[in-house]
Every structure is written in C-alpha cells, then in structure tokens.
C-alpha cells in the first residue's frame, strides 16, 4: 500500500470513526438521565436515596448514653462537649451534650468509640442556616440520668436513627435562641429517668 492508498484510507477511517462517535452520542439520547433533581423533584425523601451507612450529622440517643465521655476524648477537633454533674441526691447527671456541627468533619471516630452506640451518624445532612451559633446542637435539655449497662432497656425507648437530629434541626431558620445551661436537680425535685418504663 503506497502513500496514495494511505491517503484514502485516512479519509475512510476518519469518516468511519466520526460515524461511530455519532452513534454513541445518539444512543445516549434514548437512555435515562442519571440526574437527581434535588431538592424538589425527587418524589421521595432524599435521605432514602443515600447509602444506609452514610456519615451524616451526628446524633445522640440519650437513653443509651452512659456519660463516659469517650467520644469527647476521641474527637480530634473537640467537636463534642459532654458534662456530667453530681446532683443533690448523690446521682451523677448528664447536664450537657453539645455537638458543634460547624466544626465536625464527620470522621466517625466518636461513633466507633461509643461503647453503647448512643452517638451515631444519621443520613441527615441539611443543616444550612444563617447563624453559626445555631450549628451547635444541644442534645440535653433537662438533666438526664446516664444509662447503666447492667440495667435492662426497652428497645422501643431508643428513638429511631435520624429522628432526634431531625427534630433539632427543624427550626434552623428561626431566630437564634441562646442555650440555657442545664443544672442537676436539687433535692426537692425528684429526677426522671429517661428510657425507663
């Protein structure tokens, strides 16, 4: 094959490959687009489309929390703040459990360290708001007795994954309300044990 033949072969090859390429792009016109039209045209909640073990916002199931503060010590960037105080009745009370979402890098170390699985990742991720102070999630609103591993606990008392953080982030567009520190109960008011039947 001389250079003359090569010349025409080049023309034929380029025409054929252009046709091939056009066939490929045309075939995509008859396939379903993979775009998910988040947030308003997806048909079902976006959380259901996410992988089950997605590392979203952290949440704490207080009925399971022992107050061991392992998560606080594991966290490399001090996102978690846990406070346990002694009440007048001699019991230790959980008085503070804050997670600063604005700092959290969702590494998942805290969830791994937790002995009872109280702190866990959810599939929630919608946390945009206009005030960075709202990004600190306060899980303790009243003094809570920590969970004792020896105690039996009703599985129904543990809220489903995602329900707690969903409730906390529901009003994220409302004006900022300062957090009122929780104090352990004095002797007069008998404490409640969350999660106990």
């Amino acid at each position: 094959m001389g250079s003359f033949g090569k010349y025409f072969r080049n023309i034929r090859n380029s025409a054929g490959s252009i046709l091939d390429g056009m066939a490929v792009t045309l075939s995509w016109m008859f396939r379903r687009p993979y775009t998910i039209q988040y947030p308003d045209r997806i048909g079902r909640p976006v959380q259901d489309l996410i992988a089950p073990r997605f590392r979203g916002l952290l949440e704490v199931a207080l009925p399971l929390c022992t107050g061991c503060q392992l998560c606080q010590r594991t966290c490399p960037i001090e996102v978690i703040l846990v406070e346990v105080k002694k009440g007048a009745d001699g019991n230790r009370y959980l008085t503070r459990f804050d997670i600063d979402v604005s700092k959290c890098m969702v590494c998942g170390l805290c969830a791994e360290a937790c002995p009872t699985g109280a702190i866990r990742h959810t599939r929630e991720f919608e946390m945009s708001c206009d005030d960075i102070r709202k990004l600190v999630l306060h899980y303790v609103t009243e003094p809570v007795l920590p969970y004792k591993p020896s105690a039996r606990i009703d599985a129904a008392a543990v809220p489903p994954v995602g329900s707690i953080v969903k409730r906390l982030t529901r009003d994220r567009h409302a004006p900022y309300v300062p957090y009122v520190p929780v104090e352990p109960p004095s002797a007069e008011a008998p404490p409640t044990r969350e999660g106990k039947p």
Partner: protein, 401 residues
C-alpha cells in the same frame, strides 16, 4: 423584496417617483423581521443545545425557567444586559469596544441573500454565493480585533488561531460551492434552489458524485468557518479560557454568542439552499410556488425543517467530536480539503458535460447517490443500535424531564 414594494405601490397608488422610499421602507420592515427571526432562533437554540448536550451526557439540562426551561435564554440575556460592560485597563479601548460589531454584522448580513421562501428574500443577488463568502469574512476581522485589542495572552492566541483557521477554510468553502455552481450555472441562491427539485433525487447533493463530496466538504468547512466544535480552537475552553472573548462581559460578550448561535441557522440555511433543495415542494413547479401564499408558507416550513435537521446535526457533532489540534486542522484543510475540492471542480465540469450529452446517466447517478446516502444513514442506525445494546439500560424515550 422588490416585488412586494411594487405591489405595495400599486395597492396604495403611490406615484412612481417615491419608489425608492417605498423600497427602503419595505426593506426596513424585512430587516426587522429577519433580525427578529435570527435573534429568536439564536436564543432558543442556546437553550435547545444545552438540553441536547445534557442528554448526551446523561444529564437533564436547564428545565426550570418556563415549561421545560424554554425561557432560559431570556434569563441569560437579561443577566448579560445587567452586567457591567468592563474594558480592561491595558486594552485598546476603541478597538475593544468596536470588535463585537463586525462579528455580529458579518453573520446578520447573510440574511440579505438567505431566502425564506420563493419570493421572501432580502435581495436575490446574482452573486449571492460570492456575497456570502465575502461578508462572512468580516467575522475574522472582528475576532482578530477582539483578540488583539484585549491585550491578553488568551485572547491574542484565540484571535490568531481564528485568523489562521478561517482564512484557510474559506478556500475549501468557496471551492465546494463552485462544484455546485458548475452544474447549476448560477451564483444566486434563489437560482440554485430553482435549479433543484423538491424530491430528494433532484437535490444538488445527489446531483453528481462530486456534489455529494462537496456537500460534506462544505458542511465541514462551514463548521470551521463558524468556529464550531470540533474546530473551536479560537475559543478552546480548556486551553484558552474562552479564547478571543475572554475579556468581554455584559452585552458585548452577548454579541459574540448571539452571532455564534445565529451562525448555526446561517450554516443550516446555506446548506439547505445550496444542497438540499431549499424551499422546493416535491411535485410543484417553482413558478406556482411563487404565486400562492399558502404554497410559500409550506415551502418556508419545509425550508425551516431541513435547516433544523442540519442544525441538529451540527449540535450533535459538537457533543461528539473532540477538538482538533491546530496542526491537524491545517493538515485537514490543505492536504485533504483543498485538493479534493479542486479535483471535484474539474470532475464536476466533465460530469456536467457528460450528463448534457446523456441525460439518463444523470438520473441513474442521482438514484445511486440517494441509495448511498440511505446506506450511510442505515450504517449509522446500526451502529447506534450496537452502541445502545452495549449498555444495560432500558430504552427511555421521555425527553421532557
């Protein structure tokens, strides 16, 4: 349009002395209509192209503004109107501000000779094709002006590339048109359309093997002239930011893009007029078509439909082919297109002489070439089916997503 000026004068009983003014008025109205048509086309195409591109990349594309996002182009236009008209500090100010206009004028002026139907045409110049080639050369001037005056590396590279590319590709463009002019014996676009017939085997593409080659030659060269992918080196996004229009913003930026999308229609319309039978309706003589308004409308619809098919192919090509390198571009022009064009002209002359002697040969050639075109289409469909079957997806024919 002179016919309409004459009719208007008789209808209004205007004295003969005012003929010039009536003509100017009629032309003015026609220019407005043609410009509006071009502007609407450019706008809607900008949205349509994005939708098609999206589907070819398994996306959806703009579908929020208006039904299916059809008003997206209005939003983009308003956005550009409201933006600041920036001129870089070191730029050549007057030249920078002037540059979008030659580009725009170069594209819009083609509407003078581009017909819409049998009688609706700005002016049926007897040198229509020469005019087309000449007036589109203004675009090069504008792009080079923009590239030089911006005083930026990217724009200068874009401008110089554009000059090299467009000057080179004007030669195969003109050569491929000459191949068609030989059998038709006219340079006027309307004359070329009248020479053709409505039925596909009477089109100039299938007139002879040489015109068949010239069709592809012209189409490709026109793409290169219009800076369309795969020949978009002047504005290569991945290399030159945006090429010659990098420093532009606001309305002046819009002018460049306006011209680019209007150019889509211009390419489609020229290809349709010269090669694909223009506004001819199968089985109707052109004299009859020039007389009745209804037939003119049908002719316009046919013309538009054919142009839109060509525009679709251009869009399709853009999202298929990767950009050529500058040396490949030049090689393609000078080593392939120009020699093929020249040989085609000579062969076209010989063939025209032969067909004049043996008319049956012309008919057989036309039918044969039509079959060849069909075979190419069938090959494309077969390959599409193959490409489709290689993917485990169900067919999905819903385009309104």
């Amino acid at each position: 349009m002179n016919v309409y000026a004459q009719t208007l004068m008789e209808w209004l009983k205007v004295p003969e002395a005012y003929l010039v003014y009536v003509r100017i008025g009629v032309f003015f109205v026609y220019a407005l209509v043609a410009l509006t048509f071009g502007a609407l086309f450019a706008g809607v195409t900008s949205w349509y192209e994005r939708r098609v591109a999206a589907r070819m990349q398994s996306r959806i594309g703009p579908n929020r503004v208006g039904p299916q996002g059809i008003l997206q182009w209005l939003c983009d236009g308003v956005k550009c109107f409201l933006k600041e008209d920036l001129v870089p500090k070191e730029a050549d100010r007057p030249l920078f501000r002037l540059a979008p206009y030659p580009v725009f004028i170069g594209i819009v002026s083609t509407f003078v000779v581009l017909p819409f139907s049998a009688t609706v045409v700005g002016s049926d110049l007897n040198v229509g094709l020469v005019y087309l080639i000449a007036i589109t050369a203004l675009v090069v001037a504008g792009i080079l002006m923009a590239g030089w005056s911006s005083n930026s590396k990217w724009t200068l590279l874009g401008g110089v590339r554009s000059a090299a590319q467009m000057v080179s590709y004007e030669i195969p463009l003109a050569l491929s048109l000459l191949v068609v002019v030989v059998p038709a014996g006219t340079l006027s676009l309307q004359g070329l359309i009248r020479f053709q017939g409505g039925a596909p085997w009477n089109w100039l593409v299938f007139q002879s093997p040489m015109t068949f080659v010239a069709f592809f030659l012209f189409f490709t060269s026109a793409l290169a002239e219009g800076n369309r992918t795969p020949f978009d080196l002047p504005e290569a996004e991945s290399e030159l930011v945006a090429g010659y229009n990098t420093e532009y913003s606001g309305l002046r930026f819009l002018f460049f893009f306006f011209a680019e999308w209007m150019n889509l229609y211009v390419i489609g319309a020229i290809v349709t007029a010269v090669f694909l039978g223009g506004w001819r309706i199968p089985g109707v003589a052109w004299q009859r078509q020039a007389g009745s308004p209804l037939l003119e409308l049908v002719g316009f619809a046919l013309y538009l439909a054919k142009s839109l098919v060509v525009v679709n192919v251009i869009i399709w090509l853009r999202w298929t082919l990767p950009r050529l390198r500058i040396d490949q571009l030049m090689k393609m022009c000078w080593k392939y297109f120009v020699p093929i064009g020249m040989v085609s002209i000579v062969l076209s002359m010989l063939f025209t002489a032969l067909v004049t002697a043996v008319p049956l040969l012309g008919r057989i050639t036309s039918i044969g070439l039509l079959v060849l075109g069909g075979l190419i289409g069938a090959a494309l469909l077969r390959r599409t089916a193959y490409a489709f079957s290689s993917f485990p997806d169900k067919p999905y024919f819903k385009w309104m997503v």
